[in-house]
Amino acid sequence: MIEDNDIILKQAARVLTPFILIYGIYITFHGHLTPGGGFSGGTVIASSLILNRISSGNHGSGPEIDRMMGIASIALVCYGLIKAMGTFFPDFTHRVLPRGIPGDLLSGGAILPLNIAVGFVVACVMYIFFCLIGEEA
């Protein structure tokens, strides 16, 4: 149903998506330094995915949802495991994920991987929501 005269939309989307993605990733990775983190970063990433989906037409999303669900649950499992590491083997996390110097990227100990996992989860779930509700309409 998307005729070819929507070239402008497609081109704009192709140009904008990388910048939105980088911005989202920046927010996720700097969660422990600047405001933001997993949740807000994830939503920004999701918005780029959704932009891409709209611009390239609302084609069938069955397999896509399952793939996204898979990614989300893998990310959740990693989140759970890292948390479990923190609880059961406290000294282990210090050795693997150093506290580092406050202020630079790797300083947050376990917070960084957790933020990344949460970012993935939120992005995938938001995208799945959009596909489901988009499909219904």
């Binding site: 669900m69 898979g70 989300a72 649950s73 893998i74 959740l76 499992v77 989140y79 759970g80 495991l81 948390k83 479990a84 923190g86 609880t87 059961f88 406290p90």
Partner: protein
């Protein structure tokens, strides 16, 4: 032996990581078996925790590397260990039953999601019981409400979606009240750990009497709404009767209990006996409990469909727990905890057999159940054991919990409560026995002649028979359980 100290947290992790893995599992049968495996492992772990608490008493466990006032700590006492054991073991039995029945009621595409929600629900209920930090308890309460609504709406038909919306609206009301109460308590005492709040509260109580009163009322309303305390129970019949069998069993047997345990933990932990005796809690709980027990039974009598009747009878049984709590003495408290175990077993048994009847014969209303005892002998035999336990026949666990609550009432000098309990067990007989009578002693209506008896697959009948045997064993010899529980009642 020290590794048992981090078992409670392990149980919560296992449940949640298990529920995250569910969507990745390929086919439906593996995901059902995974649920059973995970709940079995965690019930074994909870048994170890019970044994540990029995030998070396209560213990605290810091989840995060920081110690108590900042980090979240789990305070595992006799009450918590007992409730976690009940949740995990009854959850395992329900999930074993689920292997056979879930595919028949829930559309295939939703089964993996259902299993994920089921495990997350068990995990968050264990969290409510185990945690020593009220904000952490609030988060677990929220997870429980969302997952509980999830497993109702997973059935995807008109009635269940509508019931879920109603349930979710009521439970978000209750969560708002609970969070407001937590905000007030945090405002006065300055920290969230139950022990520290209790410590500061006794000092600061006289400075902010209104805050404490308002916080306690909000907590009673919040938890009462969630645990279907008498006047706030209107969402329960729709939610429990339109849900699939296994989820209505989990809902009324475990979810209501988790919220009432949360209420007990906050009332005894945060407020403590001194503050509680100042607030008019005794009279409130007693009148609400008596109302639930009497009027709930009358409502249950008027129902024509089995599941709605069982839902109303859950309101009655929760009324017993609140009635026992209102006595404020050791025997009453033991009675309340034993009633939690007894109702969890009996109500699960009744809901599962009602589900069986609905699936194998498609019958839902009580009049259609004439002569079904001969068509489904195992299910109806097990159902009558559960019904007799609800009525409080001496050989069943129902009698013991009524005995303890009644005797506690006498010790507290309230003969009225004993009379209320006995009248309500008569009323229970009035709506449970007709079902059993019409199942075994009435000839089936000419329409549906009896085909040969239905034999159930093993995983459907085994959990039900195990529960029936447990009810009778707990009726005959509840002593080890009761000695363990009365350890928790030392606070009174």
């Amino acid at each position: 032996m020290e590794t048992v100290r981090n078992f409670p947290v392990l149980i919560i992790y296992i449940f949640f990581i298990g529920s995250f893995i569910q969507p990745l599992v390929r086919n439906v049968r593996i995901s059902l078996l995974l649920t059973v495996a995970i709940s079995a492992v965690s019930s074994a772990a909870s048994a170890a925790v019970v044994y540990y608490v029995r030998t070396n008493g209560d213990f605290l466990f810091d989840v995060a590397p920081w110690s108590a006032p900042w980090g979240i700590e789990l305070s595992i006492g006799t009450l918590e260990a007992f409730v976690i054991a009940v949740i995990c073991s009854v959850g395992t039995l329900i999930s074993i039953y689920g292997i056979g029945m879930v595919e028949k009621e829930i559309p295939a595409r939703n089964i993996k999601i259902y299993n994920a929600l089921f495990l997350a629900l068990l995990g968050s209920m264990t969290g409510i019981a185990a945690t020593g930090d009220i904000f952490n308890m609030y988060v677990f309460i929220e997870i429980t409400s969302i997952t509980a609504c999830g497993i109702i709406s997973v059935k995807d038909d008109k009635k269940s979606i509508e019931a879920t919306v109603k349930y979710l609206v009521y439970s978000s009301l209750a969560s708002g009240c609970i969070l407001l109460a937590i905000a007030l308590l945090y405002g006065i005492t300055g920290n969230l750990n139950i022990r520290y709040i209790h410590h500061h509260l006794t000092e600061v109580m006289y400075l902010y009497p209104r805050n404490v009163l308002l916080a306690s009322c909000l907590i009673i309303v919040g938890f009462g709404l969630k645990a279907a305390m008498f006047p706030l129970h209107f969402w329960l019949p729709d939610a429990h009767s339109s849900a699939p069998t296994t989820s209505s069993a989990v809902l009324s047997a475990l979810v209501l209990k988790a919220y009432s345990v949360g209420l007990i933990k906050i009332l005894t932990g945060v407020f403590g006996i001194v503050v509680m005796s100042l607030l008019p809690l005794k009279t409130i709980l007693m009148y609400l409990g008596s109302g639930a027990v009497l009027i709930g039974s009358l409502l249950a009598m008027t129902q024509s469909r089995i599941k709605r009747m069982l839902a109303y009878s859950s309101v009655v049984q929760m009324g017993y727990i609140f009635l026992a709590l209102s006595l404020f003495n050791r025997t009453g408290f033991t009675g309340a905890l034993f009633q939690i175990l007894n109702h969890a077993l009996t109500k699960t048994l009744l809901f599962l057999s009602a589900g069986n009847i609905k699936y194998y014969t498609g019958k839902e209303s009580i009049e259609q159940l004439k002569g079904i005892g001969y068509r489904m002998p195992v299910t109806m035999a097990v159902f009558s054991v559960g019904a007799l336990s609800m009525v409080g026949l001496p050989m069943t666990s129902g009698f013991n919990s009524k005995w303890y609550i009644g005797y506690g009432a006498i010790e507290a000098g309230k003969i009225g409560v004993l009379i209320v309990i006995v009248i309500s067990s008569l009323l229970n007989a009035a709506y449970y026995l007709p079902v059993v009578v019409s199942a075994f002693f009435r000839r089936p209506s000419p329409g549906d002649e009896i085909q040969q008896p239905v034999n159930l697959p093993w995983f459907t009948s085994v959990p039900m028979i195990v529960m029936a045997v447990l009810i009778i064993v707990l009726g005959l010899y509840p002593d080890p359980v009761i000695n363990f529980i009365s350890g928790a009642a030392k606070i009174f």
